[in-house]
């Protein structure tokens, strides 16, 4: 059966995910060492120890994401995070930075290393490079690949692949995007945040709701319509063509989220080892519901049964979903 890798932003979400049938949960420390560095989220060292004990007692694994890029001069903070994850019994660490991976491979030879999606390893050469140089055991594939490409990659590599199937969707190659720091000064790579709430402002102007990120207007909707969170790459913009005409719309991506439920059998056939659900910032109740639904789906896929219909209808209600780059036409 494909392994179900589920988000845990808090100890309560970790327990909820394990109870709902997660094979594996992933989490991070409460600091800038991970890419969901949001207020009120993530784990202290003590909470991680308790979480690992809870998961292991129920046969589930715990992965610790240390997937931002260490700040020059302050690498020790990231090195300590890797050491503590190893000491506290994490089953693997999820890393993105070349230097940090080299450090982990050398200082903790027994620790299982997963390559974060933030490392953007998008072809077999990249993956084999990390496997040969550092003994990486699994790669989380960037969301720029089609199912056909994932199949082809799996034929050329010996490490496990993990892919995102549900939740937030980056349209850019992750770990290679500075759009957020361009608008706000804070980025996923350096600060573990994208389009951070600290730089978001909502206002009602002339009968419209407006959502801004830093100095830039990202969404404007008529009063009475919900205004989406101003994630930069899902904003509504205008592009003049230089000949007097222009296009207005979601130039990079609509405010959609990823739902690859119906592609699960194809992903299994493509040789994917693990399915990942995005959403460490989500509530415990959301996590439990999504995990239950996906556990049923991977079990069905394992038995060659059709995907259960409408399992996630309630969670995606009112919000559009896409299968993203997995379908080649998305590009």
């Amino acid at each position: 059966m494909m392994e179900l890798v589920c988000p845990a932003g808090t100890p309560a979400a970790l327990r909820a995910a394990v109870d709902a049938g997660a094979h594996t949960v992933y989490c991070g420390f409460a600091d800038e060492t991970n890419a969901r560095n949001f207020p009120g989220l993530n784990f202290s060292r003590e909470e991680l120890a308790e979480g690992v004990a809870y998961a292991h007692a129920r046969g589930a694994k715990v992965l610790v994401a240390i997937n931002t890029f260490p700040r020059a001069g302050d690498q020790v903070l990231w090195h300590r995070a890797v050491r503590d994850a190893a000491d506290l019994g994490a089953d693997a660490v999820i890393l993105a930075d070349l230097g940090l991976i080299a450090h982990a491979a050398e200082a903790h030879p027994g620790l299982r290393l997963h390559l974060s999606v933030q490392a953007a390893a998008a072809n077999p050469d990249a993956i084999n490079f990390y496997a040969e140089a550092f003994g990486i055991r699994r790669v989380v594939l960037p969301r720029v690949l089609s199912v056909e490409e994932i199949t082809a990659i799996n034929r050329e590599i010996d490490v496990e692949t993990e892919v995102f199937v549900f939740g937030g969707l980056c349209v850019m190659a992750e770990g290679r995007c500075s759009l957020s720091s361009y608008a706000t000064g804070l980025s996923p790579n350096m600060n573990g945040v994208c389009s951070p709430a600290s730089h978001v402002a909502y206002a009602d102007v002339a009968g419209n709701h407006e959502a801004r990120l830093g100095d830039f207007l990202i969404h404007r909707t008529p009063k009475g319509m919900p205004v989406p969170y101003p994630t930069l790459c899902k904003g509504c913009f205008t592009s003049p063509d230089g000949k007097g005409d222009s296009q207005t719309g979601h130039i990079f991506e609509d405010p959609v989220s990823l739902d690859a439920t119906r592609l699960i059998p194809a992903l299994q056939k493509a040789g994917v080892s693990a399915l990942k659900i995005e959403g460490r910032q989500r509530s415990r109740a959301y996590v439990a519901q999504v995990v239950r639904a996906f556990r049923a789906a991977v079990e069905a896929a394992d038995q060659g049964a059709p995907m259960p219909e409408g399992l996630l209808a309630r969670l995606t209600e009112g919000q559009a979903a896409t299968t993203g780059a997995y379908a080649k036409t998305w590009r």
Partner: protein, 296 residues
């Protein structure tokens, strides 16, 4: 401190490319990186210009390196990457996966789209043969200084993004094609219509970003004209200038003059505004502010 000219980001015609490098040969830049940096579909249209451009630049005394793509996914792209290492010229890697093809012990350069954020990464790349590293544009001066120091110890020249629209993101999706209601596979090369990229504005008409096929650039032109002294003090070895339409040779000469201290930062910015009328110059990244924050 000296000057490096990066690869052309945009889809220019073979004639434009030829004229650009001929003119560049007469400018006071020390080195030039050539190659298709953004989309492999563009390469057949101008690839044949590369050998002549290399020859002209070498004859003018420039160091020349060949660039890989920023995002390598297709088999063809992987093969082309491997072939670069057989050219006899240094290769600048724009995607870490190129290291898989690096001949043992061969020196290489590292471009600004490879994530070098700390000493650990810089030292690992140096041990592998990196000789020059252009840092990611989003780094603040404090990190640049740390990395320049580490570079001096490791024998690596550290470069910063000196001038031009900054590469902010790369995607599997082509936004130029999307703007024309096409998919990447049937793009009909529409990005060729915009030799300086296509502007993206907010709904208030505020210019924001520049779409260049699968790449997203800043709308503003980054310029470190006001920060040459702190960068030099930090031990930065070179400024990278990014090719753009217009009088690029004038831009290169202006920076050369700035490095020779023949020009104040204030006068330099005034000159840049004259050379590139209408352009907005920014450099928030170095000051740990939003990258779009305009130059004074």
């Amino acid at each position: 401190m000296d000057l490096t000219v990066g690869p052309i980001a945009f889809f220019w015609s073979a004639e434009q490319v030829r004229a650009f490098y001929r003119t560049l040969a007469d400018t006071p830049v020390q080195r030039v990186v050539i190659g298709e940096w953004v989309c492999s579909k563009r390469l057949p249209f101008w690839q044949h210009e590369i050998p002549a451009a290399v020859e002209v630049l070498l004859a003018a005394g420039k160091e020349v390196a060949l660039s890989t793509l920023t995002l390598i996914t297709l088999k063809r792209e992987r093969r082309q990457t491997a072939e670069l290492f057989a050219s006899g010229l240094p290769v600048e890697i724009a995607d870490l996966s190129a290291l898989k093809h690096l001949p043992e012990g061969a020196p290489f350069w590292v471009g600004p789209t490879v994530n070098v954020y700390n000493e650990g990464t810089l030292e690992w790349l140096a041990a592998r043969g990196a000789r020059r590293i252009c840092l990611p544009p989003e780094l603040p001066l404090e990190s640049v200084a740390q990395l320049a120091r580490a570079g001096q110890q490791a024998g690596v020249a550290v470069e910063v993004w000196g001038h031009g629209r900054a590469p902010l993101a790369i995607s599997g999706r082509c936004y130029h094609a999307r703007l024309h209601d096409r998919a990447k596979d049937s793009c009909q090369f529409v990005c060729a219509e915009d030799p300086d990229g296509r502007t993206v504005e907010t709904l208030e008409g505020q210019p924001f970003l520049t779409v260049n096929g699968v790449q997203t650039l800043s709308y503003t032109h980054m310029s470190v004209a006001g920060q040459v002294d702190p960068l030099r003090e930090a031990g930065v070895g070179a400024l990278r200038l990014s090719p753009q339409p217009g009088d690029f040779a004038a831009v290169a000469r202006l920076y050369a003059c700035l490095l020779e201290s023949g020009l104040s930062p204030r006068d330099a910015l005034a000159d840049l505004r004259r050379i590139q009328p209408g352009a907005i110059f920014a450099q928030g990244f170095l000051e740990a502010r939003p990258g779009a924050a305009p130059c004074p």
